[in-house]
């Protein structure tokens, strides 16, 4: 068993399942949103604002936002452990990898809080 403390759920199975569940959430959400845009070609601000004022759309958007964060974390963590490794770059890779992962987490956290603010602050 290969252990790693920085992965999302510290289990490959958990990360894998989470990435798939979040992918379904994102798929459904964006297909629904694009369908709405296609059905409303003359969309104006009031209509868009009204759409995002309904509780269901806000709940779905929050689910999509959380899903993006979880999905992106698993993905970016995988990229960082593929390419920023001591095997490829030498000992300095560990610091570089942790910096990249920390940067990703901070960025995602900012986007999450900002997204919630936009969604529920309107």
């Amino acid at each position: 068993m290969v252990t790693n403390v920085t992965s999302f759920g510290r289990s490959g199975l958990y990360d894998w399942v989470m990435q798939r569940i979040t992918a379904v959430v994102l798929g459904v959400y964006f297909i629904a949103l694009f369908t709405y845009l296609l059905l409303n070609p003359d969309l104006d601000y009031q209509q868009w604002h009204a759409l995002f004022s309904t509780t269901w759309v806000r709940i779905a958007s929050l689910a999509a936002l959380l899903s993006i964060c979880a999905h992106a974390w698993v993905g970016l963590w995988t990229i960082s452990t593929d390419y920023l490794t001591t095997y490829l770059l030498g000992p300095k890779a560990t610091v570089l990898r942790l910096l990249f992962q920390a940067g990703s987490v901070v960025l995602m956290f900012i986007y999450l809080v900002w997204g919630i603010q936009i969604l529920w602050g309107m």
Partner: protein, 234 residues
């Protein structure tokens, strides 16, 4: 025919280089890549490569032929040579010992990790452990692997993490024992594979399936392992 060969002797050369050889092939015959190498070695005995059975059973002569991994002994020159040129390189991603000979230690270490032997904690029966024809059928497409390493060395996930990701060849064998009705260590085997690297580094790009000289499907076996892990945990 023009043969471009990867040459590297770490004891003498500062870095690897490609050496070109012009070779007259006997007319009216479609040689295998290994035959071409044998002819070359007669011209230049310093060329190194591994070979043994010369019929795709031992798995010694896995190499990169015109950009694709394969066994030199069962790859016809006509199927790979482009514009009369044959390019031979060692299997990618492994340290080169000399010319086409690679150090397969990491590959074997991963194979060892999955405990590629039957584990059964029940008392040994008087004659043998029986299987029904249906149970035996589950091992088809798994046991035929000859460990030539063509698949694992064609897998980017194995290139980046050869010390952590088991690789397609190892995982095919892992499933071979997970699927065996006589094996009683299924749970312990699965527990060893649940981490983020051993199995889940596979991104399903199927490079392994594309190059397997025996026509096996490691990606499907990995899918089965994932299902078993999911069932075990939920």
């Amino acid at each position: 025919m023009l043969v471009s060969l990867y040459r590297y002797n770490p004891e003498v050369d500062a870095k690897p280089s490609m050496q070109d050889y012009e070779l007259d092939l006997p007319a009216g015959k479609d040689l295998m890549v290994l035959d071409v190498l044998e002819l070359l070695k007669r011209k230049d005995p310093s060329i190194s490569y591994r070979r043994s059975c010369r019929e795709g059973v031992c798995g010694s002569d896995g190499m990169n032929i015109n950009g694709t991994n394969g066994l030199a002994c069962i790859t016809p020159v006509s199927s790979v040579a482009k514009n009369g040129k044959l390019i031979l390189r060692p299997l990618p991603g492994l340290p080169v010992v000399r010319d086409l000979v690679v150090d397969m230690t990491v590959f074997y270490t991963q194979f060892e990790k999955i405990e590629p032997y039957l584990i059964n904690d029940k008392p040994v029966p008087a004659i043998e452990r029986l299987q029904s024809p249906e149970e035996r059928e589950k091992l088809d497409g798994l046991y035929e692997c000859i460990l030539c390493a063509c698949c694992s060395t064609n897998c980017p996930s194995f290139w980046w993490n050869p010390d952590k990701f088991v690789g397609p060849a190892g995982l095919l064998q892992a499933y071979r024992f997970l699927a065996d009705s006589r094996d009683t260590a299924t749970d312990a085997r699965l527990a060893e594979l649940e981490d983020p690297f051993s199995v889940f580094r596979c991104r399903g790009i199927m490079n392994c399936v594309a190059v397997c000289p025996k026509g096996l499907n490691p990606t499907r076996a990995i899918g089965h392992i994932r299902s078993m892990l999911l069932q075990r945990a939920s």
